[in-house]
Amino acid sequence: MADRPLLEIEGLTTLYGAVRALDDVSFGAGEATITAVLGANGAGKTTLLRTISGLVRPRRGSVRFDGAELTVLPAETIAGLGVGHVPEGGGVIRELTVDENLRLGGLLRRERAGRGAAEEIYELFPPLSSRRRQPAFTLSGGERQMLAIGRALMARPRMLLLDEPSLGLAPIIVAQIMSLLQRLRDDNGLAVVLVEQNARSALSVADEAVVLNLGRVVKADAAAVVGADEGLRHAFLGF
């Protein structure tokens, strides 16, 4: 087989009690590719990310990352393999300062370049730079999302899982985040799995798209193909 994708998901089934949050999900996500995972509330998008990063154990199926089977590993080990996960709302630790949040992200890296790495993030997100010593609860929603993404980038991940990064943010900030993702894809070869309810903005930057409905894959194809499929858009994406 030629060129296997960085992330390969096969027959993934995750249960919450009797509810099948994910039902036989299979798709792949490659390096230097933005893969959008779309669908309505309750489609299983968040569960998918949580299963990949090891916070939830699947009932069946496999998740392979660069050949390693993730479904048997604890979340902290998976993070160490180069999987960054920005949970819904960012998961910024409010009691810690901006700088401490960033430092936490950098602790995963073996090489001791913490300080320089943080400077790179501050250059990427100038609003954070002036608030380094402030506790994270003082940040606005957009700044928190920047901090969360910056913290994940501190670990130099090979793949970034993003859960609704645009939720509750002004359109201009959403646009900034989307163009940042494109830049990381092009410059660093980062694999991005982007979970979004806001299908229109996600499709505008994505290369591939997976549409979930009630835990099942409805369609997995190039983002342009999914965006052009009017029936699909009306039925599952709401635009």
Binding site: E76, G91, L104, L107, L108, P135, F137, R151
Partner: protein
């Protein structure tokens, strides 16, 4: 005036011991959201271990180190073996567990060491220092107590604020799930948190024992005062625990000196109830900020 100074010095010294125990309670609360009612009993146990080291000819310093190490191990094992099983259940399970451990340890100690009250040797004199022609209520051992607690406080501040390990421990306590996503082994750090807390508790036991005499329940009153101090300062705030501990020590000393020693425990209870009524989150808690 002389009496006021004496009472202040006495209150300060016992306040530092209450602060140490309150700090132990706060460390555990912050890490695992468990109120460790066995904190005092664990410290009682390690103090008995220390006194048996001395009985066997060991030095005071060896006994102190052994007590701290036993406390550290005891705290870690308690978290790993017992507390971990109840962490996911309703909070009442953890309360019952630590109460059970409290009763178990206070029953076990007399089986090993006998139930009689006995003295605990202090390495330094517990007679007040002579200033001019009169003795003041501050002995060399009191100075040792103050120094030991301050050393532990400074050490903890350096650990939590100045090292990556401390940063990891704080993160694991505040946001366990997010911490795991950042590659932090949360379980191990919670064990370490309990171990450190029990070690601080063990120190408080060794420091108060020469003053109050050793018996299987000699730490019960200290636990009540330490608990009051922790509630006063806010269970989430290490600084609050220290300030609360010193404050409780002073207030109880004044109550004991100017009114009656019998009223000390009642005084602690009154403070506890007053805090719970007026500001249940504690004086130093950041509870308001956390709701953002």
């Amino acid at each position: 005036m002389h009496r006021f100074i004496d009472l202040t010095l006495t209150g300060l010294t016992s306040g530092f011991v209450y602060a140490a125990l309150a700090l132990a309670l706060v460390l555990i609360w912050r890490a695992t959201r468990v109120l460790n009612f066995a904190q005092g009993a664990m410290a009682m146990f390690t103090t008995y271990v220390a006194v048996s080291v001395i009985d066997r000819g060991g030095s005071y310093w060896l006994a102190l180190v052994v007590a701290l190490v036993v406390g550290f191990v005891m705290g870690g094992v308690t978290e790993r073996v017992l507390v971990r099983r109840v962490e996911t259940g309703p909070p009442l399970n953890a309360v019952i567990l630590t109460l059970g451990l409290f009763i178990f340890l206070e029953a076990l100690a007399p089986m090993i060491w006998g139930g009689k009250t006995r003295s605990f040797p202090a390495h330094f004199s517990i007679v007040g220092i002579k200033v001019g022609s009169s003795h003041i209520n501050l002995s060399p051992f009191d100075l040792f107590t103050l120094g030991a607690v301050v050393t532990v406080l400074v050490g903890l501040v350096l650990l939590f604020q100045g090292t990556n390990l401390g940063l990891r421990m704080r993160a694991a306590a505040f946001a366990p799930e997010v911490s795991r996503l950042l590659g932090i082994s949360v379980g191990r750090l919670l064990t370490l948190g309990w171990a450190l807390a029990a070690m601080v508790g063990a120190l408080s036991g060794v420091l108060i024992a020469p003053v109050v005499l050793l018996s299987p329940n000699f730490m019960d009153a200290v636990l009540v005062f330490g608990f009051t101090a922790a509630i006063l300062g806010g269970l989430d705030s290490p600084i609050g625990a220290v300030v609360g501990g010193i404050g409780i020590g002073l207030v109880l000393s004044y109550i004991g000196g100017y009114m009656s020693p019998d009223l000390e425990t009642v005084g602690a209870l009154v403070i506890l109830i007053a805090v719970l009524m007026v500001r249940p989150e504690g004086v130093f808690a950041a509870a308001k900020q956390r709701r953002v």
